[in-house]
């Protein structure tokens, strides 16, 4: 079988591969090289060693964005997963209207980040109105605004995954535990959570990477303000590239570090949660 298909490489693989090289692989390689260069367009690159990385580490904006992104990611990931899991528990008990509730909670996930950002900008500014402040008065408003926004967007998505996980647990196991006199909390701790570890693993992965890489919502909700106080890494990288002349190389160096961080976080999390998965 291999033989008869093999020579069809140009038809089956080449179109995708060509696009992959143009849109990803070549820009990726060039990106790594350019992070060691001084340049204003990709044609006038001049090798300068590690200087971009040194400038990056001295850049307060970058460190600020790194701290803000990290704290935001931890808070948002915890909140989204707890709420999504609780909703999933509630929606797997045969309550009337379960399908309708599921439909409603998932819906915001389909709305794009830019649109979500402006929706919540209006609402949060409206809530802050009586206090005479706006979302960009202080970084804490922007921070919690982003947390609320991400919860609204992601809870439904994660809930769907948790529901699928809970529905996979065999009823017999649950019944047996109940007959043996296990309390609801015991069932949750000893049966439900260990058996849905794969779902937890996936949800953590999706929320972690989504929050850490957040861009559209950040841009629309606060645009990084006040000043640069709520600028997250992805937005800071874009601003470095397109907002500061002479900083293109630093922008690319930041992008390299950003990619490494995303990769390390994703792999570390998958490694940790995969170890906790059990066979049912």
């Amino acid at each position: 079988m291999q033989k008869s298909i093999k020579r069809y490489f140009p038809i089956f693989v080449l179109p995708t591969l060509a696009a992959f090289i143009v849109a990803f692989l070549a820009p990726f390689m060039m990106g790594i090289y350019l992070s060691f260069c001084k340049f204003t367009t990709i044609k006038d690159a001049e090798f300068t060693g590690l200087s971009n990385y040194v400038r990056m580490l001295q850049d307060k904006d970058f460190l600020n964005a790194l701290v803000f992104t990290t704290v935001f990611t931890i808070v948002a990931v915890a909140a989204v997963n707890v709420f999504a899991f609780l909703l999933a528990l509630a929606l797997t008990r045969g309550i009337k209207g379960t399908n309708l509730f599921r439909t409603v909670f998932f819906m915001p996930n389909l709305i794009g980040g830019i649109v979500l950002g402006y929706i919540w900008q209006l609402i949060i500014n409206g809530i802050l109105l009586p206090y005479g402040v706006t979302i960009t008065t202080d970084a804490k408003y922007g921070f919690w605004g982003l947390v609320v926004l991400m919860n609204w967007q992601l809870i439904g998505y994660m809930m769907i995954i948790y529901i699928a996980g809970i529905q996979n647990i065999s009823t017999e196991l649950m019944e047996a535990a109940k007959i043996d006199g296990a309390s609801g909390l015991q069932i949750l701790k000893k049966i439900t959570i260990p058996l849905i570890m794969p779902a937890i693993s996936i949800c953590l992965f999706l929320t972690l990477t989504n929050c850490f890489k957040l861009f559209d919502q950040n841009l629309a909700l606060t645009a990084g303000g006040p000043g640069k106080a709520t600028t997250m890494l992805a937005l800071d990288i874009r601003n470095t590239f397109y907002g500061r002349i002479g900083w293109e190389g630093v922008g690319q160096a930041k992008a390299v570090v950003f990619s490494v961080l995303v990769g390390v976080i994703a792999l570390l999390q998958l490694y940790i949660t995969k170890r906790k998965e059990v066979e049912s």
Binding site: M1, Q2, S4, I5, K6, F9, F12, V13, T16, A19, F20, I21, V22, A23, F24, P27, F28, G31, A90, R93, G94, I95, K96, G97, L100, F101, V104, F106, M107, P108, L110, I111, G113, I114, Y118, I119, W120, W152, Y157, I160, I161, A164, K178, I202, L206, K213, F215, D216, L219, A220, A223, A234, R238, F241, Q252, K254, A255, S259, V262, G263
Partner: protein
């Protein structure tokens, strides 16, 4: 599933209903504000329009003019439909080839596609938009090729996973009976891939329809997509026309909701299936 008694069930049902209403509130608030004069939006966002503040469809007509929403809608539709179509055909073919022809090259290619899934867009943002420019891909047709390239990681990964789970005997029988590889793929393999096709289609549609940064960098000046058009309202440093903004938000949400209600079953299933494989 743990069964609970009827009384508690009813209480939970009421709580969830209340939560659902709360959940839909933001969209409702945007909707009512889209009919108010722009002067009364920021100052009293939670008030219903009255005879003084109601402006009918003024925000909509003004907003559509300002942002070029009609053409933005058209281009977004065009780019999303064709990109998703091209991604489905090309990456499913690639995935089948990579799963069935086991050489060192296909192994390396597979891992490259998987690797591309994790790399954030910012990494290739600058170099890729420059390259798109140099290769004359900075137009609505060229961007389809870019979407194929950038979206191929996830799609190839998901298709390959599914192909590996189906036995190759049926395909072999078709090949022995004299079908060419193309005939075998489109006649035998692709129909079996249908559940994954739906999942990949939905994930890519959600991504491309809502994508902001890529189209903004590659074609943003000449062809706006809906997210670019909405962001365009913020403009430079001036204040936002809140009326037009509210109307555009509503117009941006409507197609998404129609799509959701029409394919709800597939979307929820597809997303759950996509997550399990991812």
């Amino acid at each position: 599933m743990v069964k609970i008694n009827k009384g508690r069930k009813r209480i939970m049902s009421v709580c969830l209903a209340a939560l659902s209403v709360l959940y839909l509130m933001p969209i409702f608030i945007i909707l009512i504000n889209s009919f108010k004069s722009k002067l009364y939006i920021s100052d009293a966002p939670f008030r219903l329009p009255d005879s003084q503040t109601f402006v009918g469809l003024e925000n909509y007509t003004g907003g559509i003019d300002k942002t070029g929403f009609v053409s933005a809608f058209g281009w977004t539709m065009f780019i999303t439909l064709f990109s998703v179509g091209v991604i489905l055909v090309c990456t499913s073919m690639t995935a089948w080839y990579l799963a069935r022809v086991r050489t060192r090259l296909t192994g390396i290619l597979y891992y490259l596609f998987v690797f591309a899934m994790i790399v954030p867009f910012q990494m290739v943002m600058y170099t890729m938009s420059n390259m798109a420019n140099m290769l004359y891909l900075d137009n609505p047709v060229g961007i389809i090729f870019i979407y194929l390239g950038f979206g191929s990681g996830l799609s190839v990964f998901m298709f390959t996973g599914f192909v590996k789970s189906i036995p190759s005997e049926i395909e072999e029988a078709a090949l022995i009976d004299g079908c060419g590889p193309l005939q075998t793929f489109f006649g035998v393999v692709l129909p079996m891939l249908k559940p994954t096709v739906i999942t990949v289609a939905i994930l890519n549609t959600m991504w491309i329809w809502n994508d902001y940064l890529l189209p903004n960098l590659v074609i943003g000046n000449d062809y706006k997509t809906i997210p670019v058009a909405v962001q365009y309202l913020r403009g430079g440093y001036g204040s936002i026309d809140m009326g037009a903004m509210m109307a555009m938000l509503v117009l941006a949400i409507i197609p998404v909701i129609i799509f959701y209600l029409a394919c709800q079953k597939y979307i929820i299933k597809g997303v759950a299936a996509g997550a399990v494989k991812g």
